[in-house]
Subunit: 357 residues, 2 copies
DNA sequence: ATCTTTTGCGTGCACGTGCACATTTACACT
DNA sequence: AGTGTAAATGTGCACGTGCACGCAAAAGAT
């Protein structure tokens, strides 16, 4: 009883002086070894490296930053967005990440492209290449273009990271996102847990069909696999809505439910479940189970008002915040991340637990 | 299209020299004002403060830490624990918090007391008072003793923080935890969402009854209120189990379900739902909905193996990690936290979303 | 053998702050 | 005016590192 224990991180760390003394060389030489600046004999390099090992030396970050006048530049490549959209949260996360790096001298440049225009994407890529940043953070809206851009970055030796989604096989330093396949499965579970469905409605965006990347394909697959496995008899209806046309959305849903009043389960795989809020609000006659994805503001509002039962998400902004801060640390300190692929925990959001989100 | 935007935190910040120059005084004087070390005329104090305001000066943390030889000591007061217990996670969080403060010279002292012995708690409190730390982090296992200790700390001007639970009305700097009442409601929702119960079983620990603090009273209240409101007809059975006696647990549950085979809903308000895992494993005949709390290892194992349907929790270790890092920053930099009461978001954990937790 | 270049290494200053100590100023009392 | 004392202010060094510069010795050129 009444035991005691201590952590002490102020135990005098070895300094560059200690290393120098142990090798009978000067600070300058040790410094050159540490930063691979050359102008040191091979023999001495090894001597110093051994000494660093022995003493467990690592540079004092405070002194290092204080002495260094170097400013690191990072480029963030993301789609333009309107208020309330998914990418707004990603943007917020980047800003938070930049703030958490206040110790360092950092510049973060945002490059916004038009999601419907590969040309605007290429323009951004070229601007970034010209500006020669110390690192680039990007996503996967354009497949071929991104793969090509990645190879260009590799050529000139600029490291890069992925947020939200990634392309395997590329040389990215780190990735932060949510497992799309698993999120689809979880959505399916939440949709069907309350009572088992004979039929359900999957709402899709019109542009998903001609969008060559189809960013939500994996998530949809996870959803479909779960339903087909667990409820093989379940019929899945699909309707397409146009995000830009409220009238069309309303009419489409109205028509569908007139024809299929027995359908009680409703899900949307992309981040825009809020688009059907208007219909649900004005047709409260039937209690339906509605599941959506991503914690953007309009979705949270729908959840709060009770039109949506569950939202599957993770802090969207955490993805970009962690990506930037982790990536920047790795680049600045010249190390690898502990974990390259970082899947954030999937949160289940319900009216009862959304308060402190 | 292809717009651009920048964040730059390396814009040359005002230094203590700039402030001194603007006031026609020396660095030393400004320094004394900043640290409230006295020995400065009232007139000058105001002049300096105004200049700081105007220039938006704030000390360079890197330089400050580098120059300061001061080591800050924090005392963590927590119960002793066995492997797999709730407080082990809290302990891990403190260690993580200490590590994240590697910039500072910090010493974290742990004081472990016996949860069943107020005397051991008092011994710890006195040790802490003797060691005169810069801050104390504690919890609410012992009510009266903690309130008294808090007043002693106030007397000698040592700030303190609460983790896990708190006592309102005390002068704590910051608190991190999960809203107990809301967590009880959420547990009730998850328990009854799948299908509506006529009866359910609430499992309690024997020691809860004679434990004077009853740490889970608020959570239980949240649970009961939800059930009574939503299912007024629902009968709530209660059994008591002895955490130290596996035999007793098994027999108690066996007997109960022999008598009430129709009960399909099962919840435990404290963190030890894993205690009934053995019974569930060996009696898989009936599919039951089981809900528990807190993401300790044994509970996660039960969730993984499918005996438990849901776990209501938040990262237990995040509570203590954030509490320590936030508290320490406040103490060291002499500021108030942005938010005093920090309720962590309640996570709903299910087999399908526990992987990346 | 002398001069030039390259290689290897040491030194000094700067970064912005904390803190101990030195110095000046103000003021009261003889 | 002179002395003593306390209050107010200034100064110097240290913290550990990055980096530009300089210098000596070795290697190469003539």
């Amino acid at each position: 009883m009444a035991k005691t224990d201590k952590i002490n991180n102020s135990t005098t760390q070895a300094t560059i002086f200690d290393v120098a003394r142990l090798c009978n060389v000067s600070r300058g030489t040790v410094d050159r070894v540490i930063h691979n600046r050359g102008r040191v004999s091979q023999e001495t390099v090894e001597k110093v490296k051994r000494a660093i090992e022995i003493l467990g030396y690592s540079p004092n970050l405070n002194a290092s930053i204080l002495a260094s006048k170097k400013t690191y530049t990072f480029a963030c490549l993301i789609p333009e967005f309107e208020h309330g959209e998914y990418w707004e949260k990603i943007h917020e996360g980047f800003i938070a990440g930049a703030n958490s790096l206040y110790n360092y001298n950092i510049e973060v440049d945002f490059h916004f492209y038009d999601q419907t225009s590969p040309e605007s994407y290429l323009t951004c890529c070229n601007k970034i290449l010209d500006s020669k940043p110390h690192g680039v953070i990007m996503n996967t809206v354009f497949r071929e273009e991104t793969i090509h851009f990645a190879s260009q970055l590799d050529e000139v030796g600029i490291p890069f990271a992925f947020v939200d989604d990634k392309f395997d096989g590329l040389n990215y330093t780190v990735y932060y996102g949510m497992d799309p396949y698993k999120s689809g499965r979880l959505g399916a579970f939440l949709l069907t847990n309350h009572f088992n469905p004979d039929q359900l409605l999957l709402v899709r965006l019109i542009r998903d069909t001609n969008h060559k990347a189809d960013p939500n394909a994996k998530r949809r697959q996870g959803f479909l696999d779960y339903i087909n496995l667990k409820f093989p008899q379940c019929k899945i209806h699909t309707v397409f809505i146009n995000p830009a046309d409220h009238q069309q959305i309303y009419v489409t849903l109205k028509d569908f439910f007139q024809e299929h009043p027995e359908v009680k389960h409703l899900i949307m795989i992309n981040s825009r479940i809020f688009l059907i809020d208007e219909y649900l609000r004005e047709n409260p006659d039937t209690k339906r189970i509605v599941v959506g994805f991503d914690d953007i503001e309009p979705n949270l509002a729908s959840l709060r008002s009770g039109h949506i039962e569950f939202l599957v998400t993770r802090h969207i902004s955490s993805q970009s915040q962690l990506a930037l801060s982790t990536f920047a640390e790795c680049v600045i300190r010249g190390v690898k991340p502990q974990k390259r692929d970082n899947y954030l925990h999937m949160d289940i959001l319900h009216r009862l637990n959304m308060d402190d989100y």
